[in-house]
Symmetry: C2
Subunit: 225 residues, 2 copies
């Protein structure tokens, strides 16, 4: 007869691939697709169906791998927070302000550059009142800001920079560096381009570094203590 075996019927999988590899690949594609969809529509606006279509899988497959919509969303938020934490290196009062601020601006720009959907996902979460991130903001992130702010103040006391409000300086850097990713549609619409290139990112980084350092009275890197 013309019967085919069960395994032949049910595997649109490439030869040589084990079950574990399929799971890994599917999970990765679901996560990527979900990050795009959640970033674009927000938590409520995103549908599991839309995520499944973006990933090229049936809807129930997404739920099978991820459990439920909420868990998938939380997992993506946590992944983005982990990326963010990975570049939060410690600084000390004895570091050079110009070098620290430049590195801060540059690493923040590159994070948004590498993960624009993650950046927009985070932005949408905050825009909606941060229902899933309240604890993170009031805990870890608040402490991070507090310690940096203290160091900026000490730099100002030592005359290494102007006595600007350190918390608002941090917010200024965050907003400026995220803007080109979160508001990409606006940037592209106004500039008339169809993408932001690596060269653009480098120019923006230099522009922001120059304006913010000069604006805070910080001497450029390498001009001595």
């Amino acid at each position: 007869m013309n019967d085919v075996t069960e395994s032949e019927l049910q595997r649109p999988r490439q030869a040589g691939e084990s079950n574990g590899a399929t799971r890994e690949r599917n999970e990765r594609e679901i996560l990527e697709a979900a990050e795009r969809i959640f970033a674009q529509y927000g938590y409520r606006g995103a549908s599991v169906q839309a995520i499944a279509e973006e990933a090229g899988l049936p809807k129930s497959n997404v739920l099978y791998y991820m459990g439920n919509k909420r868990g998938l969303y939380v997992r993506l938020l946590e992944r983005m927070m982990a990326r963010w934490n990975a570049l939060l290196d410690d600084i000390s009062v004895d570091d050079d302000p110009a070098e620290v601020l430049e590195a801060f601006i540059r690493s923040k720009m590159q994070l948004s550059r590498r993960h624009p959907e993650g950046s927009r996902l985070f932005a949408a979460e905050i825009l909606g009142g941060a229902p899933f991130l309240q604890d993170y903001l009031r805990g870890e992130l608040r402490e991070w800001v507090r310690t940096r702010a203290r160091i900026f103040e000490q730099w100002a006391e030592r005359g290494l920079m102007d006595p600007v409000d350190p918390v608002w300086l941090i917010f200024l850097i965050w907003s400026a560096t995220q803007h080109y990713a979160d508001f990409e549609a606006q940037v592209l619409g106004i500039t008339g381009r169809d993408e932001i290139t690596d060269a653009d990112v480098e120019r923006i980084t230099r522009f922001l570094t120059q304006v913010i350092l000069k604006g805070c009275g910080v001497r450029p890197p390498g001009s001595g203590a």
Copy 2:
């Protein structure tokens, strides 16, 4: 019998109010409620039901007044664009750079302050790829940016400010001034407050003006040509 007239049955309206007044009041409350809900959840994430509850009206009443969800959303976007256009006064090369930039920062801050939900509504629209605002961005707004950018360049040629990229300067001001409204949840979470006061807004305005003007090599207002 105990019959009441039709009009008595159907008006939870205050005495002395005409039909026109009810409509006006209901429409206003729906618009305010919808701005909050759309700002929080985005276009797709917002439900007519949620808007109706926020406005204290039945769902079909919202649709009766506004036609459909899409029309309501577009109307709110256009209202926000109108507010924005209202403060886009013309500037000339002969104006004082410091005064113009300070007024620009201040008016932008106040727009976000007065209409935080409108600001977040706009942000959510851009975040989602600006599906309803493509034409506005590529038309009116692009022209606005182009003319300002040209003037900033001429100021730089005259030595009134540093030769920074004028378009990125405009984006920097936009991002910095919108941040405290759009990312209010983050600002409050990190600073540990429960609201941003008028005094905070004034402090932020001064901080941004100082840093950006100094950062671009613009002399403070009143220091002569």
